[in-house]
């Protein structure tokens, strides 16, 4: 049964929608900056849902007023890691929240093999399930 044709990764905001255009990304970042959140860019080639910590592309960008600078960094990251997953995060540092307030994908590989379900039989008739990314079967450089 195909529940997700094309195996598009669905993590973070807007991930069920078509990819955001640069203008839409700019609008989203503007929203984040308006709230005073620090925006950062991260990338990975292992998008397992439990892989919370992606690689940071540069430091988080504090004290910015305008999204143009962040878009410039996003494009730099796209150029460097053209076939990786890239996400933009906005961190809300206000006391009591101190966690990411936004997170959305801005780049995905051309071909996304998706995830498989591995069933492991254990004691009795118990089954342990594992979500397994097909891409991680290959070496790091060859994944996407």
């Amino acid at each position: 049964m195909m529940t997700n044709p094309g195996n598009r990764l669905t993590q973070g905001q807007f991930s069920f929608l078509p990819d955001l255009t640069d203008a839409q990304i700019t609008a989203q970042i503007k929203w984040a900056l308006k709230h005073g959140w620090a925006v950062s860019i991260e990338y990975t080639d292992d998008p397992h849902p439990r892989n919370t910590y992606w690689e940071m592309f540069g430091n988080p960008m504090f004290d910015l007023k305008d999204p143009a600078g962040i878009l410039m960094e996003i494009n730099n990251c796209r150029k460097t890691f053209s076939s990786h997953y890239i996400r933009v995060m906005a961190f809300n540092s206000s006391r009591g929240t101190e966690s990411p307030a936004m997170s959305f994908l801005v780049n995905r590989p051309k071909k996304e093999p998706g995830f498989g379900l591995v069933r492991q039989e254990s004691e009795g008739r118990m089954i342990r399930y594992t979500v397994h990314s097909y891409a991680t079967d290959k070496a790091e450089q060859e994944r996407y």
Partner: protein, 313 residues
């Protein structure tokens, strides 16, 4: 078919430049500039010209007469205290009103903020500053320090190259203003021809005349709820030309320092006569004696001037 197309499109036949001018509220900003900045005729003229250009540009766009966005990178040269930073701050606001920049904030940096201390440190540092300034104005004070010809391994050159690239490619995103003393900036541009050609507006800030400095002094005092007495004003009018003749005269900044010292003496005078009852006017007024006590009058030297020996209270 072509005719139908032109008729249906939203291009207007006529445009009321006056209405456009009113709606942009530029006049308010220009008036404010006239009111709060004394003198600086050439600067004000140029700002008016830039405002006119941007306004006409906006109208042209409505007629679909496309033209490249004009470069508005600027270079402010002039002696210390002639109002370079103040004008730069206004520039952000003006350009925002005209829709040239989106935010209109001012990011002030010097060499230390742009140039790193070891290999690979400069580029991220410069880029971070540029990102912060995007949507506004990047003001580089004493820009000539970026280039140090005596040290060929200086990282300043790297910073200049990144700036050049951004000034060319991100023209819509930020306006770069360089500032510094005239002779040093000229030398800087001689060795960085690329920088010179990317800056469209070279503005030279003239020194203030004694009359203008007097107006500035009064504005400064009014902003702090002080005023001169009639004799005080006369004394300060005498003070200005004397101070101008001394070394390290930095225009409005020297005036501000002189006023700060006069306030100090006024406070001291009031304190010493504390048996008297004071009214509000006494607290606001700088008398002639507060100004005449300055070392500039007494022996033609500055307060705290190392040559003058004992520092006067």
């Amino acid at each position: 078919m072509n005719d139908a197309k032109t008729n249906s499109s939203a291009v207007p036949d006529k445009i009321d430049l006056e209405a456009e001018f009113q709606s942009s509220h530029i006049q308010e900003v220009l008036d404010k500039l006239d009111r709060e900045l004394v003198g600086l005729k050439p600067i004000k003229t140029r700002i008016r010209e830039v405002a006119a250009l941007l306004l006409v540009d906006r109208v042209r766009r409505q007629f679909e007469l496309t033209s490249e966005t004009p470069t508005l990178h600027m270079c402010f040269t002039g002696n210390p205290g002639t109002g370079k930073t103040t004008v730069a701050m206004r520039m952000g606001e003006i350009l925002k009103r005209l829709g040239y920049v989106r935010e209109g904030h001012l990011v002030t940096v010097t060499r230390d903020d742009l140039v790193g201390q070891y290999i690979g440190h400069t580029a991220p540092k410069t880029k971070e500053v540029i990102k912060k300034a995007m949507g506004g104005v990047l003001f580089i004070d004493e820009a000539y320090y970026l280039y140090k010809p005596e040290n060929e391994r200086d990282y300043g050159q790297e910073s200049i190259e990144i700036l050049l690239q951004v000034m060319e490619n991100n023209r819509d995103d930020l306006v770069v203003i360089l500032a510094g003393y005239k002779d040093k900036m000229d030398r800087f541009f001689q060795s960085n021809a690329g920088m010179r050609s990317r800056i469209a507006h070279h503005l030279d800030f003239p020194d203030y005349s004694p009359d203008e400095l007097m107006v500035i002094a009064k504005l400064m005092l009014a902003a702090q709820n002080y005023r001169f007495s009639a004799e005080g004003e006369k004394a300060f009018a005498e003070y200005i030309p004397l101070r101008m003749g001394l070394s390290h005269f930095s225009n409005a900044r020297s005036v501000r320092n002189a006023l700060d010292r006069a306030r100090l003496r006024q406070a001291n005078r009031l304190f010493n006569s504390r048996t008297k009852t004071l009214n509000k006017m006494d607290l606001m007024t700088l008398e002639a004696e507060d100004i005449l006590a300055s070392r500039v009058f007494v022996d033609g030297k500055l307060d705290g001037d190392p040559a003058s020996g004992v520092i006067r209270k």
